[in-house]
Symmetry: D2
Subunit: 333 residues, 4 copies
């Protein structure tokens, strides 16, 4: 039984808490902390979970075997570093850090520690649809990958959402899955200006396109549109030299009424990726039971943040922007 | 150039008139007749088509090379017989006649004439989707045919529509396509009572199921539902020993809005089978230009009517009812 | 933490063991028994699960909170009765018993006990696709249910599979889901003879059709075809007075190669319903943690077996066969 | 009856000849010319069509009411100009001319003539799928158009196919349909380098991406891949502020075998757009019968060529390239 300490109980932390408490085998949530103490207390009540006094307290609590970080992104690096110092396995929600510099510090600490402790919460790698696409690529079913087309759409954005966040918060998922599917690193990004939706907040460039260029020449084209109104729509089409593997919205059937046969588009990320989060958590726990840390690594977190930074630079300059990664430490080979 | 005489200008006759006048190569509508003289005159106006004084007049008019019968079903046999007497090719809308006795008279007349003149308007055989299914079967792609599932649904029925007409007017299309796809004759039918839709007229059994049994043991199961509210929905699934060929509603894309990705269901038969009627007419004309009469024959018309009669008998008795066909004349081998 | 004892470790028992050990929150497998002691020992090895000396031993073991019966069907009733005598919650794989008489004994014992202990393993009720269909019906999205079309196909049958088992083993799932979706009882069944596949074993009638008639007049038509060669294909189409809800094979995308865009058909029940089994088990455990037994009841098990018996009688006689259920005890209201 | 003269009998000219001779109402092919006199003679034989001595001869032949130009692209402008001089309606296959300068001469001549004579053969505007997308946009069903994603794939390229032709021959169709769907002009293009398929000829950049920017800011992203191996795959997704309209490959059903449910991808343009060519020709003839020239105009031909030129310049420079159009003459308002 792995005793998990959770830091942060926003939407995603609460989701993790629920899954770990009611759906994941071999785990229990031992300690919980949120800066909003009331919320944490309400969530802990009657669950056998104790409240931590601080994030540090959760990490250092001897009853905690592993830590799940779901606090705001700007706390991620510091907290992950604390976990590494405490030699505790940590599942850190994406991004590993808002800047690649901070991510690098995590890499350095983990390399110094000598083995992996960190998994980054890129849950899409655990989605059944993405796994099917990955298997098709790896089995050679579509030949060599040449181009990938992605869309990432949300119903609407919260007021605090900025044009930068299209890359740092949204497209960072496509950045990670593209790196994983293509099994290569991104060397340049180009953000493309597009006609603004009149339904997007006036401060926001929405939708946006971005081109991700890999060392091999593969180009991944991503549309991010966070005010599409109609649903949470994440799809991709991987074009190979002999065929195409595509990820569509999962469907189980249709409803035919009033002149149309329709299949639902997921309402939000919880509907679409709820199962992926569950599989991610179970795999994390199953690994820990064997003493293994696997899944997206701190390197993956670093590379994704570096690419997102490049996107933001391209958004500012309007130009193609290169991505410079440090040499990949042997730990992440 | 084939000069066509049209008898009957209801919905289907008007459709044929329009296709022959504006879309079919090698044909013109020379003469037109309808018992509603005003309607016929309005349709003929400014088109270069003359008005016939009667159906007989159309058939016997020396300027008419071929006759298209689209008048009410109870006139079909008599008019087709008149065409055979006049040695003129005739495309008779389904049914060839409301009773198999009348159909037999047409068969006898055509056999006496010594060559085919009659084509029956089972247009589904010209539909791209049905042709694809037929090709899959004939290519052996699904092995031997074992079972077929069909649905035939309409938005709503006209007041004059009766429970019998579910078979004589609607399912007669499935009867014909099943005979064509399976390439065998139906030997028994069983109508199955089903919960009545509260939205169907109170005099109507709707929906209904019917089982069509072939000599080979193949069973075709058909649902007829003429008040389904949502669209004109004709589909089938042919189950073979190694695979399945299915006919769905034709689609060319989708509209994604308000939480759903939807594909339209056709509104009515003109939307769904408009192209099939066009291909049917063009094939009829192209055949006539070479002196050939092909397509669904008077035998097909007879067999379909005989099976529909059996369905009506089964509806009355509640029992499985056999279908007894006369021996197939060599002309239709 | 619920300590589960498992009886029977064939394909399904092994699947349950794996899920309970590695995917279900709040449960552990405490004791295991199989008549094949070696197999049980191999499965238990290194897992912390002890071996029971007999099924009875598992049931009576004080360390066992709840029992999962996955032994052959003819042992189900006796073992379930033993669980009831021991006042232990039991998840009994379908069928509850091969005969309705035996099922009735379970009902009587449970009624005498005064509260529900038994859940029957009709896992389809936990499948995401079926739940979506159920919700559409219950939300009134398709009006009143009138007709249901189902197919249930397997790649091939094992040598011991008989024509009766098409109903008692295969269609019993459709019988249960139909009862659940329609929320009514079946009053008659009619098995329909169909052309035999030449690829089916010679002793087998395969495929077969069966019509299930409900009190309300709803008819559920089921095709069972256990040697379809191409995949494990379970679908249904629920036809209501205003629309249609359909269950298709779940898809997450497609592979486009060599002239075709294709979506996989599941290879077998584990691929298709693996998640449903997982959700079923988790729901069983979550219920037990609250002291509740929910899900398909002994009544559902009894009714399904009674209907399957009727199908077998209809298969023998070739006639429509009525289903006579005892009055539903208040416990199952 | 419109008497058509055809110039050029390659694949497309032969297709037009066949359609006009056997499927189009109100037209006949009066005269035929090809530089390969034998081919022309073989096609004309037994059809009642006479052979022209030259392209000029066809155009000036008083028995010819309208001219269809299907000769190589570099002859299009000169022949179209000859038609305008002869005051004869002309359907010129795309491109109107390989250079925008030549196109401009056609515009000038037609403007001087004072009314439209020219239709350019952008047949996709007559495709049922594209028309459905256009209607959705024009009906406001997806709000304002913001981004469009297109793919245009062919099985393989002929040896003479060059990287430029990806734009001048292939993407020119997307250029025209995008202008038509978006109802605006393209002001800039950017060609994006992509990993080359190892199955493409070594002289060819394939696949390629191109971004088409409209005055309104709409961006149309097009993938051209002429050696995709698996089929002729033309699709697009129009993203609006409230929804998405998508064009997929037309389907009429599926074949389920060997573990997969598959829908065919068209083998080539004749399979995919055969009907569009037929509707195009019929609409051309129906217009001429009323004295009207409609459909894609010389302006559309000019604009498409100017954009394709810009793409070629961008391919050479690797930079975004602007498109400068002359002012649109009132004739094309």
């Amino acid at each position: 039984m792995i005793n998990v300490g959770i830091i942060g109980t926003g939407a995603i932390g609460t989701n993790h808490l629920r899954w770990l408490s009611t759906r994941v085998s071999g785990a229990r949530v031992a300690v919980l902390f949120d800066v909003d103490a009331k919320r944490a207390a309400a969530l802990a009540e009657g669950s056998g979970t104790t409240l931590g006094a601080s994030a540090k307290d959760v990490i250092e609590n001897p009853a905690v075997d592993a830590v799940l970080i779901a606090s705001p992104g700007d706390t991620h690096a510091e907290l992950t570093l604390a976990c590494i110092r405490a030699s505790k396995p940590v599942l850190c929600e994406k991004p590993l850090a808002p800047t690649s510099d901070e991510c690098r510090k995590v890499l350095e600490a983990e390399v110094a520690h000598g083995s992996r402790l960190t998994q980054v919460g890129f849950m899409r790698r655990y989605d059944a649809g993405y796994r099917t696409v990955k298997q098709a690529i790896d089995a050679g079913s579509i030949g060599e990958v040449l181009v990938v087309h992605c869309v990432h759409r949300n119903v609407s954005s919260v007021p605090s959402y900025t044009s930068d966040m299209s890359f740092t918060d949204s497209a960072i998922h496509e950045i990670d899955t593209a790196r994983w599917l293509v099994a290569d690193e991104i060397v340049a990004t180009t953000v493309i200006g597009v006609r603004r939706s009149s339904l997007a907040p006036s401060h926001l460039r929405d939708p946006q396109l971005v081109l991700l260029e890999f060392r091999s020449g593969v180009v991944v084209e991503v549309e991010i549109f966070v005010n599409c109104q109609y649903g949470y729509d994440v799809r991709c089409e991987v074009v190979g030299s002999t065929g195409v593997a595509s990820l569509d919205n999962p469907t189980t059937g249709a409803l035919t009424r009033s002149g149309a046969r329709s299949e639902p588009v997921p309402a939000d990320w919880q509907v679409r990726f709820g199962d992926a989060y569950l599989v991610e958590l179970q795999d994390w726990i199953n690994g820990l039971e064997k003493g293994a840390v696997r899944g997206p690594s701190a390197w993956d977190g670093y590379a994704a943040t570096a690419v997102a930074e490049s996107c933001v630079a391209s958004l500012r300059s309007g130009l193609k922007t290169t991505v410079s990664l440090i040499e990949r430490p042997a730990l992440y080979a």
